[in-house]
């Protein structure tokens, strides 16, 4: 039977965000896949050049709704490095707590999303119901359910009081029990195992060569976690394990993420118990001295990287974001070769896609090996000239 092409996206019930994959299939097997990005390019890096450093914190938060704190944290760390300020210890601990809470709510969301892709609606409803508990805690601490506005240049904007701590502890116990239950379901439920074990294999060598990040990498047995390697914020003091599994399939990715929920709960408990006293914010000057800084954090989906270059004024000269999903896309294309059509949404869900994070434009000229970053105007001019001369 000849191969024919199926378009997957940009509008598709399986995708949260628009991305297009053109699959060439033969019967039920995928032979080739070509991704196309660009449907949700919003020009954030360009907008960022027209606003002050403090206003860009809010822009950074809105790169992605679910990993918003990770982006804000990464950006503020880069700016603080340019400024040369040391933020107080209490701020570092509060940032750690917020980051881990965001990780927990992200993994619950992901569990529901992956279950929906497998057709397991019940687990989807239950996981999202339990995620509401975490969102309630985040609302109590920061005032909002997403896009918290907690991290700022120089520390955090709000404090965690003692009355909040008791409530947080009770909710963490509940979430821990629920995570144990989901772990039991995902290791014992026959239909889940049939759909995820042995599906979407990514060998460790391929994972390293294609620069996979996050739980996708750790499910192939490689111990890389920015929290343990770089020890930013308070991760140098809070003890935690880096979770890896050896089976390289979607089931391992589920187990890695569920176990990470347990580790996050442990970190939050340690941080709440040992929260140091003191101020939680220092004032930062609006003008940033010249220089460039790179900052990486472990977002819930993997390694997130922000590069900020300043020219001495109060607006950044260049700001570049490399989100984890962009790093996982080549590995995704490798994983998708040879799967059944029925496995496509499961494998895509396995890397926790957040396409909104991933949309940046870099042009690499393969002939001259030169790299350029073009603004929108350059692209527009080039496109017009090209079509005129055709």
């Amino acid at each position: 039977m000849t191969a024919f092409q199926i378009p997957f996206g940009p509008q598709h019930p399986a995708l949260e965000e628009p991305i297009n994959f053109m699959f060439e299939v033969e019967e039920e097997r995928v032979v080739n896949v070509t991704p196309r990005l660009g449907y949700i390019h919003r020009g954030i890096e360009k907008i960022g050049e027209g606003r002050t450093y403090l206003q860009n914190v809010y822009l950074a938060e809105r790169i992605c709704g679910i990993c918003s704190f990770a982006h804000a944290l990464c950006y503020t760390q880069a700016v603080e490095e340019l400024l040369g300020v040391n933020i107080p210890e209490r701020a570092k601990f509060i940032r750690t707590i917020m980051a881990e809470m965001e990780r927990i709510q992200n993994h619950y969301l992901w569990l529901g999303f992956a279950a929906k892709e497998m057709g397991f609606e019940t687990l989807f409803m239950y996981a999202w119901r339990d995620r509401e508990t975490m969102l309630g805690v985040l609302e109590m601490i920061s005032g909002k359910r997403v896009n918290y506005g907690m991290s700022t240049v120089g520390g955090v904007r709000r404090d965690i009081t003692d009355t909040m701590k008791k409530d947080v502890e009770a909710k963490l116990n509940y979430l821990e029990k629920r995570a144990e239950y989901y772990r039991k379901v995902c290791t014992r439920e026959q239909t889940v195992l049939e759909r995820t074990v042995g599906v979407g294999i990514l060998r460790p060598r391929d994972a390293l060569n294609l620069c996979a990040v996050g739980p996708t990498l750790r499910a192939s047995g490689i111990r890389r976690d920015v929290r343990a390697d770089e020890r930013y914020a308070a991760y140098g003091e809070a003890p935690f394990k880096v979770i890896t599994y050896k089976n390289c399939d979607v089931a391992s990715r589920i187990y890695v993420r569920i176990d990470e929920i347990f580790e996050s709960i442990k970190i939050i408990r340690y941080a709440l118990k040992n929260l140091p006293d003191g101020p939680f914010r220092v004032r930062a000057p609006p003008r940033v001295p010249e220089g460039e800084a790179v900052s990486i954090v472990e977002a819930p989906r993997g390694e997130d990287l922000h590069y900020v270059k300043s020219d001495g004024s109060e607006k950044p000269a260049r700001w570049k974001v490399r989100a984890p999903t962009l790093a996982n896309l080549p590995s995704l294309c490798k994983m998708l070769a040879g799967v059944n059509i029925a496995d496509i949404p499961v494998v895509i869900a396995g890397i926790d896609p957040c396409i909104a994070c991933a949309e940046r434009v870099v042009l690499v000229d393969t002939k001259t090996r030169g790299r350029q970053v073009w603004t929108g105007e350059d692209l527009w001019r080039y496109a017009n000239e090209w079509y005129r001369s055709r």
Partner: protein, 312 residues
């Protein structure tokens, strides 16, 4: 008075309301199992929701794709609805014999159920849409898997009752014993194969929403979609009725003979089917085929051979 029986009870009007009621019951049960409400506002406790959905779909724009084969495309929903309603006339609802009963009507019911599955394939093929083609192929493949065990376990009660008529099986059960007690394995296999025939989770592979958008239904819209959904509800009623008539004794039982017994058993059977729907994730079509041929068919054959041994 046969005309009144055909038009009202247990004929068309009753069957239509039963189809809507069964859809409401299924949606409400699945919702409660998932800790949410289900239909709530249209009518008391949302009982008019399926009817409202049907009326809304009837009023929507009905588009036929330019390259689709026009005549089969238009005829397929109507045929499916007609074929889904027909076997219901052979099910005894308020007495020991149905509106239409003759020796061999069980075979006719099985034949019509296979025809419906074939119509799904044809409907998908004439839509000339990539997703539809994949859905249709999957529907055909699925049929290879569940048809054999389904037919075997439907013949099992006929062998025990010595009659190839659904009404005959019900009559035998009213005088002897409910067949679920002597053939429990057959009942379990029947539930699973009926789930595959109805295309519900874990076997809703031809219409898998997250993989191929709507599968074979993708090009049907407006009136055609309304008729197809209604046909799917009728199939649910048919499936529950088959479970009741062949294994649970039909309308006989605690309150001797009455349509209320049938009704209560219908609710129990729909509850079983909805529970199975909320419990599992979706299988892949190759897993379905290997599972049915490795497990279900041998078990069904085992059930049939045990019958012979028991009657010795």
């Amino acid at each position: 008075m046969i005309l009144l029986e055909i038009l009202l009870f247990p004929g068309f009007l009753f069957l239509f309301s039963l189809a809507f009621f069964t859809e409401w019951l299924d949606r409400k049960l699945v919702a409660r199992l998932q800790n949410r409400y289900g239909p709530l506002h249209v009518g008391p406790k949302g009982i008019l929701q399926p009817f409202a959905d049907f009326v809304k779909l009837l009023s929507k724009e009905d588009i036929t794709p330019a390259r689709a084969d026009r005549a089969p495309f238009v005829a397929m929903p109507i045929l499916t609805l007609a074929l889904a309603m027909t076997p219901l006339f052979c099910i005894p609802i308020d007495s020991l014999s149905a509106l239409v009963s003759f020796e061999g009507d069980l075979i006719v019911v099985m034949f019509i159920m296979s025809l419906i599955a074939l119509l799904v394939f044809i409907g998908a093929w004439v839509s000339t849409n990539r997703f539809g083609t994949i859905g249709g192929i999957r529907a055909g493949l699925q049929m290879f898997g569940y048809e054999v065990p389904l037919n075997i376990v439907m013949i099992g009660p006929a062998i025990a009752a010595g009659s190839l008529s659904v009404s005959g099986v019900v009559e035998w059960q009213s005088q002897n014993i409910w067949l679920i007690l002597t053939q429990p394995l057959g009942f379990a296999i029947l539930s699973l194969c009926l789930l595959a025939h109805l295309q519900r989770v874990p076997f809703d592979i031809p219409e898998a929403e997250s993989e191929i958008v709507a599968g074979w239904l993708v090009e049907f819209s407006g009136r055609k979609l309304a008729l197809l959904r209604l046909a799917s509800n009728f199939e649910l009623v048919l499936a529950a009725s088959l479970m009741i008539s062949l294994y649970l004794g039909g309308p006989t039982g605690l309150w001797h003979l009455s349509p209320f017994t049938y009704f209560i058993k219908l609710i129990i059977c729909v509850f079983i089917l909805s529970n199975l729907r909320a419990l599992f994730a979706r299988y892949r079509v190759d897993q379905l085929l290997s599972g049915t041929w490795k497990y279900l068919t041998p078990l069904a054959l085992l059930q049939i051979s045990m019958l012979k041994l028991l009657t010795w």
